[in-house]
Amino acid sequence: MQPAFSVIFLTTLIGMGQGLFLAIYTEQVYSVLNVVQSNSSDKFYAIASAVALVLLVLGLISSIFHLGRPERAWRAASMWRTSWLSREVIVLPIVMGLVFLFGMVHFMSWNPVIMQFGSVAVRLSLIIGAFATLATFALYIATGMIYACLKFLQEWHSPLTVINYLLLGSVSGFTLASVIAAYEQAELVPFFVGWSITLLIFAFIFRGASLMRNKRLRPKSTVQTAIGVRHNQIKQKSMGFMGGSMNTRDFFHGKTLLFLRSIKTIFLVLVFAVPLSMLIIALFKPSLTVLGIAAVAMYIGLLAERWYFFAEGNHPQNIYYQSIA
């Protein structure tokens, strides 16, 4: 497929925003349950929520560039029964709203205790956060399923697609959370860095699994099934026109194999190798710069990863467009 930058930015930005929210909410749950000893401040939660919200909004804005008729975008919420894209369109504002509420509750320090279980006080923000977490997971699934549900895009049609959207989004959010922690509340850094390293290892395993799976895929559609002729030697002589069309532009990345391979190497280095070493360094010597490098490298790497993900999708319609004249 031809990677669209609007979609690349959309998926990476909202993935990071969701991950950032999950990170701070995980930390809050841990500290409420006294698993980690921290007196994390409302200010930290408010800043992190604001950053998450900004990322989600930026993602939404970039998605608008993908639409031919953005003024009708509201219509996209109507077919949630059948369309994963429609479900994403519905869940994204829900996530935004809940993250906003979560941030506001902390920002205004209006966080009354709703329930009390023994020594555990369940505050309002914890309940909002629980709903926001559900919505965040739903959004990861919806985003992943948009691609995973297309069965003839065999490279995408796998649970690994959804898992990778979830893991890569989360790890980028947790890494960003450790940057914000290093800036705002340094005692939280080891918590977020620990989580980031764990998630990064899982993300590497599953992204690697998906790369290996896609390498071994055999296309189900061939020129024989495409035109319905049983012969081993079939060559297209003309696709029917000499100019361009959407069929020749939107479904192929138009780059060389070497370019594709180098993008793969770049994303493997920038998403996994560089952040992993930076995170390990930060585990022993927390520093804003080191974590900043990790987060920036990871985000740039994720842009490359998403580009590669789209470029790798091999659409069967390309069989019909192999020869101009």
């Binding site: 919420a77 109507s78 077919m79 059948t82 369309s83 559609s221 319905g228 079939i234 029917g240 069309s245």
Partner: protein, 241 residues
Amino acid sequence: MSQLALVIDLNVCVGCHACVTNCKEWNTSGSAGALSDDNPYGKDPSGTFFNRVQTYEIGEFPKTETLHFPKSCLHCEDPPCVPVCPTGASYKREEDGIVLVDYDKCIGCRYCSWACPYGAREIDEHQKVMKKCTLCVDRIYDESLPERERKPACVLACPTSARLFGDVHDPDSEVSVAIREQGGYQLMPEWGTKPSNHYLPRRKNHVSYHKDELERADNPLKKEDYQVDASEPSLDDVTSW
């Protein structure tokens, strides 16, 4: 429930592109607006088309065969482009099975084009909505036209009658009979889309004769073992002078 569709006879198609031009002419002149083109006569022309004729070479020279292959939306019975549409702009009509796009609802997100394995959908780069073959829905029900002209433009244009149009759910329709009797098949059956449009394969008519049919086995002359002895002059030779 009826399912209108095209049946394209690849044995008859000569690849003249008349269906392509007539399709473009009819559909660019309709009430839904033009099928926009960019640089139609300049460098790098690009445009929106519902139908194209492609050419394939089968086999290796000198044993080759040329196949002209018209391709448009196949109006699948289980169209993968419809459920993915977030706005409901893409839909399949209950009454005749035509898959259509509501140009007033489409947001131009291109997701349906990803979901079509045949590449039948194109975005109109000026109207910014998805477009595709409508089976000339604005013509086949038009009662102001004489009845024989209430057919898709491509069908009317075809000089060799390679394109048949009708209801593939009616077992007695021209198209159903053609599919049944002449080996009609669907494209990319592996995805379970159940295309309504069918193609009739290239086919050679071989007539096989048995030796009996060339040489009369029950010739009575043979029965009597009557043979002309050519070494002696026959009565004709004697009397001809």
